[in-house]
Assembly symmetry: C2
Homo-oligomer: 325 residues x 2
């Protein structure tokens, strides 16, 4: 398990998630829910897609990041924040920090895509490059924090982050009545654990499924074997889901998920293309894993009112996965 | 001027457009309006994007097609409908006919993209291929009509089509108050002339601009010289806007547009990429011409509440224009 120091406190309660919704309402979008008749026909299910790809900075990650940043005391915020991330958390934390007027320092591997580097820079994040190993990322982050006295904001192993991500499902349950299931992609587990908490507090019936690439099925294994099993940088196309669960997210998922289901790489790319073609919305590969799981496990969702969180839309438009073969 | 026989009747009035809204409400989506802070910053304008790319069959064309098909008498509809089109009208007419339970016969050039052929077939349209010249398209359509006794539904030179397309702006003016301008792509002029009619009936102040590729600026020339000037298959990337105005659309545009502005090919591709990247929605090149015109004519729209109709989202995902260079 990734040994980031968790922030103190208890698992977020109902009151905290309600307060978080109020706090982030000043900064984050209430994202729309779309439906698509042809994808319903294809899946045999009644699907509702929560478009977090339309969220600020292009992914649900902004919810957690802005909650974490805005809740820092003036003193805590005074030297800015820091994280290591090559993905959506980097952009989200940079934008949240810009809104608060503090500095975000982002450790990124030197092989990160130019698109992601440019996005972080466009939000004012200060990048420190490192070698592309987890060890070097962590060492470099420690150096950055030592030099700057910035506060670390971990991408998922932090209850403020989890409470922020929980607001997506809280909104979703208000927007669509009678949802029977919600399917959520799982990497580090911030979105999945937040969704489980909101389901517990705001619904008596909805079942929460994690959706994971077969090639990175550490969360499924951990969930089914009831012990933490890490993954080591799997090569799945769903680049947002290559991480292992955290010490704060695993217990919530273990106790609250209905199941964790997987999808093949081909299934993920196909689902992504279906969403682009039929819904005309841009999702990144990780965001397509929910639909991929539904299409590869049709019996579980047949005829059911099923919510899918389209987690993000940040993808390199000059390298689409269906063109690489 | 294309010599399709226009359908009889008068320019659609306010009452007819209201009735059309009611009729098509059973079939068409009320499409959402999106805003994007970063594109506002880029343009210096306050932009509202009406997402007709989310319309049934992926483009505004469905509004006109379903209105035309549903208004046919039982006798008129009995032998189905026919058109020649390699684009969105073909898909829209096929879907509208499927909903009415009649046959749509579509004449398409034999070099039409496989994606478009598959889309028409998926809606049940019956395709007859022809050589890719306007002459052969028209001759083949005449043959098809002679054989089948189908009713021709022209893509824009038809008042039922124009009334259908007018409903997009009628909705838009209800959704967003105080729009100062609306920018609409112009090919054959069905959407532009419909927008002009709705502006006249439902707003006292909004100005309507046509947006056209520089390489296919026949509508601009026709508008400015006040006489019809045709265009001959220009090679613009905006493949939906390669046609000339019609005998019914030109007079409405001539009398009611504020101006027709053009955008460069590079500007169209850039605007399309900006919409994909920033808004995470898929638009086809023709749908990006409105934003391209705004970005290339910033003084006209600076600080103004400006509506843009994103006309469609049907594009071949394996051939993106920024990858062809």
């Amino acid at each position: 398990m990734k040994e980031a120091e968790p922030n103190q406190g208890l698992v977020p309660g109902k009151k905290e998630i309600l307060e978080t919704r109020e706090l982030i309402s000043f900064y984050a979008h209430i994202t729309p829910v779309l439906t698509c008749r042809s994808i319903n026909a294809l899946s045999g299910s009644k699907l509702f897609f929560k478009c977090e790809n339309f969220q600020k900075a292009g992914a649900f990650k902004f919810r957690g990041a802005v909650n974490a940043v805005m809740r820092l005391s003036k003193k805590e915020a005074s030297n800015g924040v820091a994280t290591h991330s090559s993905g959506n958390h980097a952009q989200a934390l940079s934008l949240a920090s810009k809104l608060r007027g503090i500095t975000a320092r982002i450790v990124m591997p030197e092989n990160a895509s130019l698109v992601k580097v440019a996005a972080v820079e466009s939000y004012g994040g200060i990048i420190r490059f490192c070698r592309p190993t987890l060890e070097d990322r962590e060492t470099t982050l420690k150096e950055v924090i030592k030099e700057s006295a910035a506060r670390e904001i971990h991408p998922y192993n932090d209850y403020r982050i989890i409470a922020g991500q929980a607001t997506a499902a809280a909104e979703f349950l208000e927007q669509i009545s009678g949802l029977e299931s919600i399917v959520v992609p799982v990497g580090g587990g911030g979105l999945l654990s937040g969704t489980i908490l909101s389901a517990r507090y705001f619904s008596s019936t909805v079942r929460i499924y994690g959706a994971e690439p077969e090639m990175a099925n550490d969360a499924q294994e951990s969930f089914r074997q009831k012990r933490f099993i890490p993954v080591k940088d799997p090569a799945t196309v769903a680049d947002g889901l290559r991480t292992s669960l955290g010490s704060l997210t695993f217990p919530i998922i273990s106790g609250g998920a209905e199941d964790i289901l997987t999808a093949s790489e081909e299934g993920i790319i196909l689902a992504m293309k279906i969403i682009w073609e039929r819904m005309k919305v841009i999702v990144e590969p990780s965001a397509a894993v929910g639909l991929a799981v539904i299409l590869e496990n049709p019996d579980t969702f047949r005829g059911k009112r099923t919510g899918v969180i389209l987690s993000g839309g940040n993808t390199d438009l000059s390298h689409l996965p269906w063109q690489i073969s």
